[in-house]
Symmetry: C2
Subunit: 381 residues, 2 copies
């Protein structure tokens, strides 16, 4: 480690919470730590609590013991050991590798950025992807995402089975003798995901008007004859990759307006899916969905305190994060082969209900490859 490096890329975070850290290290670490990328090698600096496990399981070329490095840093920087925090370690490594230029991600903690700035280093903030290769998924990553979607589908199928078994009692649904609520159905979905080795968080089970707030997770009794959005995006325990699928159901009898709404959303999804191809802009894919909506007479506009219509983008990248690069929205750039994106148009009108249908594809040279799979039947009598 006497070697010099022209630049140093620094990351600081817990790999359980920071996807770049997980991508680089390949190991789950619950507390923040320092990672260093030189021209030649990658290094992780972890405490004795993590050392053995990270040394065995991580992808780092070298794992360094925090307690040792802090002592070296105190000596080199001529500081008291108590004054050596992560920022001082960063300065120490910059000296040790004799670099002048340091690159950090956009979400790098300001406190360490300021420390390095004060120490006189030439600092570059990488505003886009810190590891651009993260957006081009390998076959192994695509498999991991496919498993995530199998967990999503297991959750959605569990919800469907409950709705099928439920009985309509006036304005309520009764399942196994008790009123069926968003909360109960969410628990059943999340348990089905767990049985597939995945943890779901913030699973959406929202009916009626609630579904018209796309990030409302849903609460209270579910009602017959209302559209119910079920959006499940669990994280696989083994790999950290996510699934992300949505289906919209209705228990009872749909109105003509509801049927037209759902059919139009599915048509918009098909149009967007058909537009996906390496070299095509994300904005073009979004426009394909948007056109189906405007052709169908569905307007997006402000009404009172909220918005109605197609009020979100068509999709987003999916991987170690639920939302990651690339975007599939207005202004989005070209899709590349290997990108994994969701395609999830939706329409939201409080007087009709909300509908969103979401699947996941990997972009290929000729089009796309489906990484999620489940039927689209939605009316449950």
């Amino acid at each position: 480690m006497k070697s010099k490096s022209s630049t140093l890329r620094l990351l600081y975070g817990a790999s359980d919470a920071n996807a770049d850290m997980l991508y680089l290290s390949g190991v789950s670490v619950p507390d923040p730590f320092l990672a260093i990328v030189t021209d030649k090698q990658t290094y992780g600096v972890v405490s004795q609590l993590e050392y053995g496990r990270v040394a065995r399981q991580s992808r780092f070329d070298e794992v360094m013991l925090l307690e040792d490095i802090r002592k070296h840093a105190a000596k080199t920087l001529q500081l008291d050991l108590r004054d050596i925090g992560p920022g001082e370690l960063m300065v120490y490594f910059a000296q040790r590798f004799a670099v002048k230029k340091i690159k950090v991600p956009a979400d790098f903690p300001a406190v360490f950025y300021a420390k390095l700035y004060e120490a006189g280093y030439n600092l570059g903030i990488i505003e886009g992807a810190f590891f651009p290769q993260r957006a081009r998924k390998s076959d192994a990553e695509a498999r991991a995402i496919r498993r995530g979607n199998a967990a999503s589908a297991a959750g959605i199928r569990a919800a469907e089975a409950v709705l099928r078994a439920a009985r309509i009692d006036g304005k309520r649904l009764i399942y196994e003798g008790r009123v069926l609520t968003s909360e109960r159905l969410r628990t059943i979905i999340d348990q089905a995901c767990l049985a597939r080795g995945a943890t779901a968080a913030s699973t959406i089970v929202a009916g009626g008007r609630q579904a018209c707030d796309p990030h409302e997770v849903g609460h209270g009794p579910l009602r017959p004859n209302e559209l119910i959005i079920v959006d499940v995006f669990p994280r696989m325990h083994k790999t950290g990759y996510h699934g992300d699928m949505t289906r919209t159901f209705l228990k009872g009898r749909a109105s003509a307006a509801q049927r037209k709404l759902v059919a139009t959303v599915r048509a918009a999804q098909c149009a967007a899916l058909d537009a996906v191809k390496a070299g095509v802009k994300g904005s073009t894919v979004h426009a394909a969905a948007d056109k189906v909506f405007s052709d169908g007479g569905y307007r997006t506009e402000r009404r009172g305190n909220g918005f109605v219509g197609f009020i979100h983008s068509t999709g987003h990248g999916l991987g170690l994060e639920v939302h990651e690069s690339p975007r599939v929205s207005k202004g989005a750039g070209k899709l590349k082969a290997g990108n994994v994106v969701t395609i999830e148009p939706g329409l939201y009108y409080p007087d009709i209900g909300g509908c969103r249908i979401e699947d996941v594809v990997r972009v290929t040279k000729g089009g796309s490859e489906a990484l999620s799979s489940m039927h689209y039947r939605w009316e449950i009598r």
Copy 2:
């Protein structure tokens, strides 16, 4: 909103991932957004996707619509609308409130820090708690944490029941006809948490040598006559507060060394619990546990690639984050009434096994109040 403010405190993040944002807003938002704290009021700036829900459910004094604010900012800063990102919005608000001094948290994204710095603002980074009151829990917060621990205990009791029902078959445990693994037991624990309205992540079920890496979650078959650490820290869906409890079990027959180890860890926990009181230093509480270990002849030291003994701190604050202020460790400062901390000493020796026992208390003037509850029986024949 023509009023001036002497300072502006800025936060940027998703309230689902950033505890300060959740504390300030009181509403779950999955994507990053901007929050502003002036001398008098708090503001949230969210997109049309979130606007209605956040306006209804959040604690912000005022919720502003991102799409509108971006237009205002473009006009004021004389920039193209496409060039208005969160950093530009921050500059816009600094102008609008006519502030010169801006305070941001230590983990504020470097990219926006740099933007504000270039714009000439006097920037202060708050290195400690951004909302110091977060460390002093109200009765409502204590109740939420107690519910989190009830979910933890439900998970641990589910694990205990499985171990009790399991049958020893040579070096394996058989449960419901199949080999019992860490993964299976984790699923059962996490499902029990879900049934209590909480999502557990990274639940630890680690036996034998695996348990000697305190952050190893555990994998593969569990074995008889080995110590099995079960550490469960779920997050309540409704409130975002966590539970965090650990028990150590053994299925079969414990050795004399294992019995002494577990008894010493429990004695250390009691000693630490007895030391907790407002005004007492966290380091004093840690020292109380440490003394029981050294008196018992248990040494902490490096062995080969790892470390053995008492290789972590006695505890940490618990709330919206699993690890938060204050610390209960070497060098930690005075505990205050209202602090909620875990007390979780442990010993780890690969030839004997690992043991950790963890409970949660709220610090009071006279001592502490237990926020977790479960028995300490651990040998399961």
